[in-house]
């Protein structure tokens, strides 16, 4: 049970993020929900990479022991970088929308329909 805790938390974070995106009407809060989903995915990745008793794969002065292949850690880093770029792009979109429409409420930002 305790061993699975990080996975459960990761899944909860993703679900929480999706719910936030669905029920919040403020565009900034919807983007916060998206960031929660991202955090959940990152947590899942990092917790997959944990091996009890393993050591970091740094060969200089390495203590004896089994080294862990850092694939998921590298994936997480990449995803964090991608996440920053995405969030910046989304927030700049919201800024433009706020400047043009005078609101960031998703119910009022509805010029495209049909």
């Amino acid at each position: 049970m305790f061993f699975n805790l990080p996975f459960i938390v990761a899944a909860l974070l993703v679900i929480l993020g999706i719910i936030t995106m669905l029920i919040k009407r403020n565009l900034i809060k919807m983007i916060m929900g998206l960031s929660l989903v991202e955090a959940g995915v990152n947590l899942l990745l990092v917790s997959l990479g944990y091996r009890a008793g393993g050591i970091a794969p740094i060969f200089t002065n390495a203590p004896a022991g089994v080294m862990v292949m850092p694939t998921v850690q590298a994936m997480t880093l990449t995803n964090i970088v991608i996440g920053i770029a995405t969030t910046a792009l989304l927030l700049s979109f919201v800024m433009v929308i706020y400047r043009m429409y005078g609101t960031a409420n998703a119910n009022k930002v509805r010029k495209l329909r049909g």
């Binding site: 979109f93 929308i97 400047r99």
Partner: protein, 524 residues
């Protein structure tokens, strides 16, 4: 010597050239607009040339494998790695090569067309840089043999696409479309990454070939499959996850819309790669096949019925794009539903898949062409509203000819390419389930009806006073449209040659899961 280096590193160059081109564009743009235009067209031409050579290589000598950072490009499994391909590996089989070719042809048409369509706008350096980045994203998705790499290129594709949709702010409306597209594709991308994490956690691998050789279809795999399918079908614009398509397609600059169609098809390729190569026979192919068929039929029908009442010409075409995606899903879904039965697969399954795959390239050509004509009309008249347009046949004759070619092709009228692929789908799907074939035909008729209406309201009627000044579209636009319509006609007149050379190898590459695995892991 030089030639040898190029030939050995084709898959890497295919991405490196447009990526370098994209990041150098703003720098070269400082030297002036002419130099930049020359540079971007040269980069796109080089990319197309590499794609053609790569496709020829794949078709003549089988799947091309490229290992990044290894001593030799085909050294997929290093001796000291314990039998696991640790490096990023590009696996370009006939299906991937086919997608690269189709993407780079449309890319070139779009680039030429942009020379005019973007010439009156500000911020062109960023526009061309993002356009090339979008091409990189598409090419990367269809070439890579690594799940995580696929996710990275999916994100490049989404971000560049969303930024381009919103590029012309247009009083904020375009940004609204871009925001919708960006939020949905990011969420989709994160779902894909979640699924990749689930697969990695079980099989300790990211390489598609290794995953495919180990996959068991456990409950976790099923969750991963659902996440991958939902996210990629959403990016491909299949009903019921299609709601972003009309907004994004109609608000993007027209040249970009033509390329967004290809970007969606790269996600469609992702769907096919996941079900055929990654899961293959381990999944319950009849159920998944029917799910894809139902998605396809829904897309066809909902897309076309939503298109008919539209007033905005690009919005209308966007709904038709949803509808045409349905044909591809239908064709390939039928192939998947009979995957486990060699007899049925031979009698109609393979033909259905070939029809679906052939429709991908045909759709990229004629839909790209239609969006470009709509853009030319908007460029000259300043409106996309069908109720305000009229009588343009007098002044924009070439645009009208290109529109007719595109419209007849999308409606499946011979001798254009849409007919060739749709006929293959009708014939084979009829053997599978007659009702589905009848629905497909009805949708085609509705498509024709809708385009007759569009044609009538844009080009027919007396010359309107407000458009008295309208002239023919500028020459680079006509060249871009002419390139695509030439291919539409050629593919329509010689369908058998295209199917034999490109489509049949692509379809068999999708079915041949063992061959894909062997090309990376070697031997068995």
């Amino acid at each position: 010597m030089m030639q040898e280096i190029i030939l050995q590193n084709l898959p890497a160059l295919l991405l490196a050239v447009p990526m370098l081109g994209a990041f150098a564009t703003p720098l070269i743009g400082r030297a002036g607009g002419g130099a930049r235009n020359l540079w971007t067209v040269a980069v796109m031409l080089a990319t197309l040339a590499i794609a053609i050579v790569l496709t020829a290589q794949v078709l003549s000598s089988g799947t091309v494998v490229y290992t990044f950072g290894a001593g030799a490009a085909d050294l997929t499994v290093p001796a000291d790695s314990g039998g696991i391909p640790v490096r990023i590996i590009f696996t370009v089989d006939a299906m991937g090569a086919f997608m690269t070719l189709s993407a780079s042809i449309v890319g070139l048409g779009v680039m030429l067309y942009s020379l005019s369509s973007a010439s009156r706008s500000t911020g062109q350096n960023g526009y061309y840089a993002l356009l090339l980045l979008l091409v990189v994203g598409i090419l990367g998705m269809v070439c890579t043999g690594d799940m995580f790499n696929f996710f990275v290129f999916l994100e490049i594709n989404s971000l560049a696409g969303a930024a381009l949709v919103a590029y012309r702010v247009d009083k904020g409306v375009a940004v609204e479309g871009g925001l919708k597209y960006a939020v949905l594709s990011t969420l989709g991308g994160l779902l894909v990454l979640f699924a990749i994490a689930l697969l990695y956690g079980q099989y300790d691998a990211l390489n598609i070939a290794v995953l495919a050789s180990r996959i068991q279809f456990t409950p976790l795999d099923q969750i991963a499959l659902v996440m991958l399918l939902v996210a990629l079908a959403m990016k491909a614009g299949a009903v019921p996850m299609h709601f972003w398509t009309p907004d994004a397609y109609s608000m993007a600059p027209s040249a970009i819309t033509a390329l967004l169609v290809v970007a969606s098809q790269a996600s469609l390729y992702g769907v096919f790669r996941v079900v055929f190569t990654l899961y293959g026979l381990t999944l319950n192919y009849v159920t998944i096949g029917w799910i894809i068929i139902i998605l396809g039929v829904l897309s066809m029908f909902v897309g076309v019925t939503m298109a008919i009442p539209q007033k905005d010409v690009k919005r209308l075409m966007a709904y038709h794009a949803v509808s045409q995606t349905g044909y591809m899903l239908l064709g390939v879904g039928v192939g998947l539903a009979v995957l486990g039965n060699p007899q049925l697969l031979d009698s109609y399954g393979v033909i259905a898949m070939e029809g679906g795959i052939f429709h991908i390239i045909n759709h990229a050509m004629y839909k790209g062409l239609l969006f470009l004509t709509a853009g030319a009309i908007f460029y000259r008249t300043g409106t996309r509203n069908l109720n305000q347009l009229g009588g343009l046949g007098h002044s924009m004759k070439w645009t009208m000819v290109f529109f007719i070619i595109g419209a007849l092709a999308i409606a499946g009228i011979p001798p254009f390419n849409g007919f060739a692929s749709k006929l293959m789908i009708y014939e084979s799907v009829f053997l599978f389930n007659p009702l589905l074939a009848i629905i497909a035909m009805v949708v085609s008729i509705l498509t024709l009806a809708s385009f007759v209406k569009v044609f009538h309201s844009i080009f027919m009627g007396p010359r309107l006073p407000e458009y008295a000044e309208v002239r023919e579209a500028p020459t680079p636009m006509l060249i871009g449209m002419g390139l695509l319509s030439l291919l539409v006609v050629l593919f329509g007149i010689f369908p058998q040659e295209v199917v034999d050379i490109l489509i049949t190898p692509a379809a068999s590459a999708l079915i041949d899961q063992g061959g894909y695995i062997a090309s990376v892991l070697g031997g068995a």
